[in-house]
């Protein structure tokens, strides 16, 4: 049985490949979505089955999000907000290539949210991060009980 179930939303497929391969080898089950619209459909249908969500904040807006933006920053932020509304406690790892202070601040203030510059993490480091997040989550769950 897989260690956990992860949803990855990122349109940069070539970058994602090594990470996906690493997750697979580390026994994680993942779903990889490259389109905003499809990703959200999947999320809404399966949110309760997810343990971790990985989101690139720079995404093409798709048709459901009417944000017209040069940078695509709004897309990620809006996606995040929708995700949070549906799953308030789902751990979300946010990847970004931009280091805008305001954007960073938004995610740094969030609970159950981890922000990483895309170039900082190597595939195995991502796996380590996920393991730590899950361990933490489990610890909290047992505390709640």
């Amino acid at each position: 049985m897989a260690k956990a179930r992860i949803l990855i939303i990122d349109d940069e497929t070539r970058w994602a490949e090594s990470f996906l391969d690493e997750l697979k080898l580390a026994d994680y089950e993942y779903v990889y979505q490259t389109e905003t619209d499809e990703a959200m459909v999947y999320f809404h249908e399966n949110s309760d089955k997810l343990d971790v969500l990985i989101l690139d904040i720079m995404m093409p807006p798709g048709t459901t999000l009417k944000a017209s933006t040069d940078q695509g920053l709004d897309t990620g932020i809006k996606l995040y907000d929708q995700i949070r509304a549906k799953a308030p406690h789902l751990p979300v790892i946010v990847f970004t290539n931009v280091t805008g202070r305001e954007v960073a601040q938004k995610f740094l203030n969030e609970v159950d949210c981890w922000l990483y510059p895309k170039s900082d993490l190597l595939p195995f480091e991502l796996v380590e991060e996920i393991e730590e997040i899950l361990k933490d989550k489990r610890a909290r769950k047992s505390d709640d009980k």
Partner: protein
């Protein structure tokens, strides 16, 4: 002090007392000596001598001897009121009136007898003993003895004081006697002397005057015996005497009188009102307030000739010696009268009289001058000219009265408005005598003054009790005779001066001549005052007049009043008619003259001469003046003589002022001077008003100008308003073309002969601009430079429109210099039509217009600049941006030469990259030679180092070489902030012609353009760099994660997967390589290229790149098989190319196709084929992606262009790809073209077949 001691010393003291009348001529000294001796005799602390006036109840301390000077000063001359001790008054009247001894103690707190207790205390006065002094039984005063001791006074002291007081009175009386004697001697001597130079009447008046002085009595009557009738009549009086009393007669037949006269010695009555058998008129005398009488008959030998009476207004007992003295005087007077009568008709008298008249004149005239001067020197404190004049006239009247021996003198002045004579001054020696009120008016012909005013000749009215004017002399004035003399200016009577006497026949021809001799002086005083008043009125009128016309009418009125004339005309110059028209006037209502049609042409020689003299023109008889410009009009009028004067201000004739008189030959030289003064003042007033109005107008015009937004409209407005301002109807305005140096016609008023442009420096206009100063030509026919714009123009005013102090740049600092803009030309058919004031006003307007134009120009430039900025924003290409910059600098800012040099940091040099404004044959040379080390002294290098704009003053040798000597230029560093490195320099300039400077404002605008350009370039680079950084980031992240994954997991992985990972890494490396190309492009760094190699292009470049892109195709979820090509094409193209660079072109084209693929993955197809023309191989790239919108076909090749789709699809990229790709292909001699927009999007990569040949040597190693 013992009585014995007093007795021993007293003899000496009393001796000393008796010497006083002979040793002390001065009364005060005499009285003081008495107190001094009293103090000594009585051993007093202080002694005082006081005289009492019981009627008015006061005591005067006439003398004092005390223990110190301060006390004496304090007490002497003090007046102490008498009252009741009980009521707290210092001196008890009841006590004094009774003439009792005063004995008082404890003065320091009761303070009787002295001013107040403090004084007593201060000076140590403890007690006082005062003894009354009586003369002929009447109390005259007190002798006071003050003690510093509190003890009561002894009887001995009281007796000694009594003795001393008696002695003191005797000494005082003796002193008075002696003095009166002395006085009478001098009076009698004077009287005998007077007789030689006086008429009998004067002698009589003199006698009455002396008689009063002799005994200090106020009233004196001199009676003369009328022998045939044996009656005494009053012939002279002194003091206020009722006229009715003067009519009294005494008959020698009356027993009392006869008895009195026969006694030959004076008689007296102590109280006339008490009634006396010898005194008949006691009731009348009492009614006059007279009390005591002393009367002496006048005898010459045995012959009685008259009688002298003196009256007191207080009871007085004339002493024996006074009576004797008076008798002597009466006899001396009798002798004088007789002698006067004897010489009356002799020839000697006339000589003497003349002599005396001269003497009088010699005395009176300086006196009058003194009066005038006195008022002059004091006049600063006076409030008005009127009061100053009245004060002068009052002083003159006083002198005239004195010297004509009159009782009164009065002066009337003519009021021009009513023609009445108004009483200005009335001087009477006795203020109690009733006078006419000041301001009292009479008509011409009314009364004595009116009569004199009418006839214009002096008149003596010897006896007011009869004659034609008898009823017109106010009886209350008590004037028995009057002398009235007219005061004239020219022939016009402007006033009268009269002297009056209560004696009949008091005046004769001598008095008349005397008065006449001073009337000129009086007239001058009046006229001078009038002139001053007129000047003040003019000033006031100038400030208050709402319009010039009102002022001119006022000037006419003032002139009439000043000159005492009925008519005044004020003419003003009409610049469009070459002559003068009447603009202000004063003409009596009863005269109907049509003056509107009158015109004085400036053309006439006579008029010209008159205008040039600057002096008044006097026509004695206008109707005979044939050359008078409107003599025919004058024929019908009684304007008989005329004064005319040009109105000139600062050498500029503005008009003419004329006054007319109804009399012929009515003006004197003095009048002319007066009128000239008035004209000068009027000119100033007119100028003041016009300049005030002018400045208001100027202000309005400037406000109007400030609102205009168009240069031509502004210049036209300047012209129109200027013409109105100077009253002309023709003119034109021109604007300087800085490039050609020509003055281009902008607009005109009136119809000029031509509108051709003028060269700067030619014509009056061109010269004005070249010199930068206005040119006013009074007569253009005498000016060689005049260029004819109107056939009959005579005078011209050319005003340069320039900014006097425009900011310019000299080296690195700001300086000032004129900036020419154009010229305003005003012309007129009249000679010398324009004044200095016109010139100044228009210069002001023109310079304001210049400022407005500069502002408009600056606004225009800024607007164009903004448009240019917008254009720059749209430009992605470096060249395009620079092209916009060059265009802006030349077209908008009007520079003729521009050179943009860029810094090459890796070489530490600055090189010219773009240049305009030099001959095409020189461009290449310039670009090659304009290459300087940043460490050199060249200005370009200096600008990069200093980062400051500069206008160099030295010539650039290279520019001279390029046929651009004499170029003035500015260099601007290409940097926005001082912290940033300088990108390069912009050098802009023009040939020094009309523009001799670089204007600071233009430098500011230039800086702004350069800044904007620099910012645009930086912005563009920043945007691209940001995108390149993103691409870099992705590639590096990919390489890193793949490398890390391989390192960690390679043991667990299949060979196939490992291959894939390496493939990915290599693709990312290819991407990085491409990005480096882009960076090089942005930085302007040269590309390193390898040698061209013979290449089978499709196999070695296209297929190889397709393989490299495989991971991307797969990564995007596309089928790599859908990148299609035909094997047949693989070997078709074999050419010499730079394989590396061509690979990058293909890489770019294919990666675009992948990036811009449709979302529907099934549509993904890329088809690559080869076509061939005669000269070229064409590699055709087709894809079924989102395509390129119409209108963007060429834009996609522009530097930094990113299609909206790219932005929406969030496709990364700098926007440089196709730019670089096309440049690379073109460099090889081929081309890259878009031939289809959509489905398929088709690019043609064209390679010329010439590349099949091996190239000779290397190609260019750089491109831009």
């Amino acid at each position: 002090m013992s009585v014995e001691v007093i007795k021993r010393d007293s003899i000496e003291i009393f001796n000393a007392l008796s010497e006083i009348p002979f040793r002390y001529p001065d009364r005060n000294q005499a009285l003081r000596r008495i107190t001094e001796l009293g103090k000594e005799a009585l051993g007093s602390h202080a002694c005082t001598l006081s005289f009492a006036n019981l009627e008015k109840r006061f005591i005067t301390v006439e003398a004092c001897s005390g223990f110190d000077e301060q006390f004496e000063k304090h007490i002497s001359g003090r007046i102490i009121n008498m009252g009741s001790l009980e009521k707290g008054d210092m001196v008890d009247y009841a006590l004094i009136a009774r003439g009792e001894l005063v004995e008082q103690y404890e003065l320091h707190y009761r303070a009787q007898g002295v001013a107040n207790p403090r004084t007593a205390e201060k000076y140590g006065l403890q007690s006082v003993l005062a003894h009354p002094m009586r003369s002929d039984g009447s109390l005259i005063g007190y002798f006071g003895h003050f003690s510093s001791r509190p003890d009561r006074f002894t009887d001995g002291e009281k007796r000694l004081l009594e003795t001393f007081a008696h002695h003191a009175v005797a000494i005082i009386e003796r002193f008075e006697h002696y003095r009166t004697l002395h006085r009478s001697a001098s009076i009698i001597h004077q009287l005998s002397h007077d007789v030689l130079s006086m008429t009998t009447d004067e002698v009589l008046r003199q006698i009455s005057k002396y008689a009063g002085q002799l005994l200090n009595v106020p009233i004196c009557l001199v009676w003369r015996l009328d022998e045939p009738q044996n009656k005494l009549r009053i012939v002279a009086t002194e003091g206020p005497i009722d006229n009715s009393f003067k009519q009294l007669e005494l008959s020698l037949n009356e027993p009392g009188i006869a008895q009195h006269v026969a006694r030959k010695r004076p008689s007296y009555l102590t109280n006339v009102s008490a009634g006396h058998q010898r005194y008949r008129d006691s009731a009348k005398a009492a009614a006059q307030g007279w009390v005591s009488l002393l009367s002496a008959p006048m005898h010459v030998g045995e012959q009685i000739i008259g009688m002298i009476d003196v009256y007191t207004t207080r009871q007085r007992r004339f002493r024996e010696w006074e009576r004797e003295l008076f008798g002597t005087f009466a006899n001396q007077a009798a002798t004088s009268i007789q002698r006067a009568e004897l010489v009356k008709n002799s020839a000697l008298l006339n000589v003497l009289l003349q002599n005396r008249q001269q003497q009088e004149q010699q005395v009176l005239l300086p006196k009058i001058q003194e009066a005038i001067d006195r008022v002059d020197t004091e006049s600063r404190e006076r409030v008005s000219v009127e009061s100053e004049l009245e004060e002068t006239l009052r002083l003159i009247a006083e002198q005239c009265k004195i010297h004509t021996r009159a009782q009164t003198c009065f002066l009337r002045l003519k009021d021009m408005a009513t023609n009445q004579f108004e009483l200005k001054v009335c001087y009477h020696e006795d203020p109690l005598v009733k006078q006419l009120p000041l301001g009292h008016r009479i008509e011409i012909g009314q009364g004595v003054s009116g009569f004199v005013a009418k006839t214009g000749t002096a008149y003596i009215y010897p006896d007011t009790s009869n004659g034609e004017h008898a009823s017109q002399v106010a009886p209350e004035l008590k004037l028995a005779s009057i002398l009235c003399v007219p005061i004239k200016t020219g022939n016009v009577v402007i006033g009268t001066i009269s002297v009056g006497s209560d004696q009949a026949r008091a005046f004769d021809q001598n008095h008349l001549h005397l008065l006449e001799s001073v009337t000129d002086k009086i007239s001058a005083v009046i006229m001078r005052a009038k002139l001053v008043r007129t000047v003040l009125q003019l000033a006031e009128a100038t400030n208050n007049s709402a319009s010039l016309r009102i002022l001119l009418d006022q000037i006419a009125s003032f002139a009439c009043e000043l000159m005492f004339q009925p008519v005044c005309l004020v003419w003003l110059l009409d610049k469009n008619r070459q002559g003068f028209v009447i603009k202000g006037k004063r003409i009596p209502n009863d005269q109907s003259v049509d003056i509107n049609s009158l015109f004085i042409s400036t053309a006439g020689e006579e008029v010209q001469r008159f205008l040039q003299t600057g002096k008044s023109l006097y026509l004695k008889d206008t109707r005979k003046a044939s050359k008078h410009p409107y003599v025919e009009v004058l024929q019908g009028l009684d304007w008989k003589s005329m004064l005319a004067m040009p109105l000139v201000f600062k050498d500029q004739v503005m008009g003419i002022i004329e006054v007319y008189s109804y009399e012929k030959e009515n003006f004197t030289v003095w009048h002319q001077r007066l009128f000239e003064t008035l004209a000068v003042q009027s000119s100033m007033a007119i100028e003041n008003l016009t300049s005030r109005q002018r400045s208001q107008t100027l202000n309005q015009v400037m406000q109007e100008m400030a609102k205009v937004r168009d240069e031509k409209e502004l210049l036209t407005l300047l012209l129109v308003r200027s013409l109105k301002l100077v009253g002309s109807k023709r003119g034109w305005v021109s604007q300087l073309n800085l490039q050609t140096g020509e003055l281009n016609f902008v607009s005109s008023e009136g119809e000029p002969l031509n509108t051709r442009p003028l060269k700067i420096g030619t014509g009056i206009t061109g010269r004005a601009l070249e010199d930068g100063t206005p040119l006013r030509v009074d007569d253009v026919t005498t000016d060689k430079n005049y260029e004819k714009f109107w056939e009959d123009t005579r005078s011209e005013l050319a005003i340069p429109i320039l900014i006097q102090n425009a900011k310019i740049m000299r080296k690195k600092s700001i300086d000032f210099a004129p900036k020419p803009i154009g010229v305003l030309n005003i012309e007129s058919p009249t000679l010398a039509a324009f004044s200095k004031a016109d010139e100044e006003s228009l210069s002001l307007l023109a310079s304001y217009a210049a400022l407005c134009i500069e502002e408009l120009e600056s606004n225009r430039k800024l607007t164009e600049l903004t448009q240019m900025e917008t254009a720059i924003v749209g430009k992605r290409d470096w060249d395009d941006i620079i092209e916009q910059l060059l265009n802006g600098i030349t077209v908008t800012l009007g520079y003729e030469f521009v050179n943009v040099s860029l810094v090459v940091p890796e070489l530490s040099r600055i090189k010219s990259k773009y240049v305009t404004g030099i001959g095409p044959d020189k461009v290449k040379e310039f670009l090659t030679l304009a290459d300087y080390s940043l460490d050199s002294k060249h200005i370009q290098a200096a600008i990069v180092r200093s980062k400051e704009a500069e206008v160099p003053d030295e010539e650039d040798k290279l520019l001279r070489k390029c046929n651009l000597p004499n170029l003035i230029r500015v260099l601007i560093p290409m940097t926005v902030t001082p912290d940033e490195p300088v990108m390069g320099t912009v050098e802009a300039g023009y040939v020094m012609g009309c523009r001799k400077h670089i204007y600071e404002q233009d430098v500011q605008i230039l800086k702004r353009i350069v800044d904007y350009t620099v910012r645009a370039l930086q912005q563009r680079n920043r945007g691209m760099l940001k995108r390149i950084k993103h691409e870099f980031g992705l590639a590096i992240t990919g390489i890193r994660s793949n490398a890390s994954f391989l390192q960690k997991r390679h043991a667990e992985l299949s060979h196939q997967l490992i291959d894939l990972k390496f493939e990915d890494i290599l693709t990312d490396c290819e991407i990085l390589k491409w990005q480096v190309n882009e960076l090089q492009h942005i930085l302007g760094v040269s590309f390193t290229t390898s040698k061209r190699k013979k290449t089978t292009v499709f196999r070695d470049v296209v297929i190889k790149t397709v393989k490299q892109l495989r991971p991307i195709v797969i990564g995007q979820g596309f089928n790599p098989e859908k990148v299609e090509y035909s094997d047949w094409d693989v070997h078709r193209i074999k050419v010499y190319v730079d394989r590396g660079r061509l690979s990058q072109v293909v890489f770019n084209l294919l990666s675009n196709s992948i990036k811009y693929s449709e979302k529907d993955r099934s549509l993904f197809t890329i088809r690559i084929s080869v076509e061939e023309t005669r000269d070229n191989y064409i590699i055709v790239f087709k894809d079924w992606g989102i395509g390129i919108k119409k209108g963007f076909e060429e834009k996609i090749f522009e530097d930094g262009f990113r299609a909206p789709e790219a932005i929406n699809k969030r496709v990364a990229g700098s926007g440089l790809g196709l730019t670089i790709a096309r440049a690379a292909v073109r460099e090889m001699g081929g081309d890259l073209k878009l031939v289809g927009n959509y489905r398929p999007t088709t690019f043609h990569l064209v390679l010329p077949k010439s590349l099949k040949e091996q190239p000779h040597g290397e190609g260019q190693d750089t491109y831009h």
